[in-house]
Subunit: 358 residues, 2 copies
Amino acid sequence: MTAATDQSSAKPQPTLISVDAMGGDQGPAIVVAGCSTSAKLNPDIAFILHGDKAVLGPLVNKRRELEGRCEIRHASDVVTMDDKPSQVLRTGKDTSMWSAIESVRSGEAAVAVSCGNTGALMALSMIRLKKLPGVNRPAIAVLYPSSNRQGFNVMLDVGADVRADAEDLLRYALMGTSYARNGMALTRPRVGLLNVGTEEHKGRSELKEAYELIRDQQQSAGFDFVGFVEGSDIAGDRADVIVTDGFTGNVAIKTGEGTASMIGNRLREAFEYSPLSRLASLLAYTSLQRLKRKIDPRRVNGGVFLGLNGTVVKSHGSADATGVSAAIKLAAHLSDSKFNDKLAARVAAAQPTEEALT
Amino acid sequence: MTAATDQSSAKPQPTLISVDAMGGDQGPAIVVAGCSTSAKLNPDIAFILHGDKAVLGPLVNKRRELEGRCEIRHASDVVTMDDKPSQVLRTGKDTSMWSAIESVRSGEAAVAVSCGNTGALMALSMIRLKKLPGVNRPAIAVLYPSSNRQGFNVMLDVGADVRADAEDLLRYALMGTSYARNGMALTRPRVGLLNVGTEEHKGRSELKEAYELIRDQQQSAGFDFVGFVEGSDIAGDRADVIVTDGFTGNVAIKTGEGTASMIGNRLREAFEYSPLSRLASLLAYTSLQRLKRKIDPRRVNGGVFLGLNGTVVKSHGSADATGVSAAIKLAAHLSDSKFNDKLAARVAAAQPTEEALT
């Protein structure tokens, strides 16, 4: 919390983002292009790019926007999408991913961004950055397109861990509240607990317990608990933060993405069906593009790892330059708002429950 | 299995469907209208309508298609959407839902259809029809719009129970296979087990155990096990049967429905945005209607309760006449194919596992 005041009197410094330039399906050229886009849009961002100097040097030199704002930190090795997390922990010291996390660990950057292997990134983040006091299970939070005012819900956990007990779900509610405040400027987010019905007596036993824990913290932690919500509320307007375990959350977002993609394909077929429908698609082009932008995951690309000493933003492995740029913007925004300090304070300030005291 | 040949030489008898006419948000008029639509389309279906004779009599008399094909079975009471299952079990003997299940129990109808309270319908079905030998947890199966050849996946369980162990998941695989064969005419369905990744080492421990149980039954039970699938495969083409526990399945289908409905609303907004886009929507009208029909849940309306001595089809509470008619058609189809006898035989024939033997 003191870091915020340290800088406030000084001349505004650029926000330094640590970027794993070698991860991702699309290769380093796309990551550098994303940094470049981001640099153009946000004059206050600077980068540490981690990866092979021989590859990154020429890519960076081609981008005038990056001149003087981008340090290349050499890392000879790369974590591939198939590498097992345990293996990366043992032998990954020379990888760009390890190096990118290290910049957050040392404090030179507040946030790291990677398009790489999610499992390895989570394992490295947990081991190197360590969990915040009071956090048993860190979580991955995403923004899910919804019909509420801001157009997105915060949903967590979507896959850091396949299990969560009542205490974990309470922490997710607190961390999700922090994220909604700092990432979406909601002063008093509405928090919902995902279940198979909205009645209090329904669902698994850990959910009934979590219901009471979360309800009892809403006053002191500054959120409104709307109780149980259902799958249909994830894209809806009943809550701003959806709390669930990482198994259910992961299945839910992938089901939503898969359904959206199926509808998109069917829509395309429908418009290609006849000369009349092809004409219609031309006329509706701008409207459909507007729609696509609204529900485009690239715009808010980035799952955020919460509950660690430092923030890590995971961008889609298949992200293009726009996606990488969006993830960097999110990272810079979270860094500027001293998000992680606030989150840590919020979790620490939560009334200690029995388990937390032991 | 022999029952199928019993009838083939005899004069075809009408398929008798037991219909709870009083359940559902839309009231008995919609249910009778659905029966009427169904009667028009399917000359071989006849009905037992359960409910208040004073209400149903005039509604049925107005429909010429139902003449001589519809018996009204009087039931003075109704299960409301708010009634608790336990209460219905204790005091629900005079309800139309109880009476509709009773017709299946006595054997006069093979399938019952209701638009009523799902929890009460499941509880009544379990207590009155009893579970099939070898089934510990019955399941609710739905057809989910997907990009595979038949346009739909069978997904189960979507909410009969919030938990399922490895043995239950194996039964779901067997029951889902029966449903895919008899409901969608797939001779060798592809079965997938829902998880957070497709690697064998991933996910919860009961899933790893279920993986082995299901894999070992694929030859003898006549399906292809495609292994773990993810949420994105529910609307995809990797499997025809998606096996999961009722908690995850319920959240997943509701997330999919919610996402589809959000996209539908956004699409409407996009087309109403400008004079040009409004013109486009007129030109694309037939194409969009065709799309709507393809992904319209009403066309395949009906969750099916599997694992009981008799089949129960649950139609959406908000179903209109088209939805009710679709649920009845599904019921008749399952009745004609002697679906439940085949399912029972399949579950009984599964190589007994340790737990099943105790």
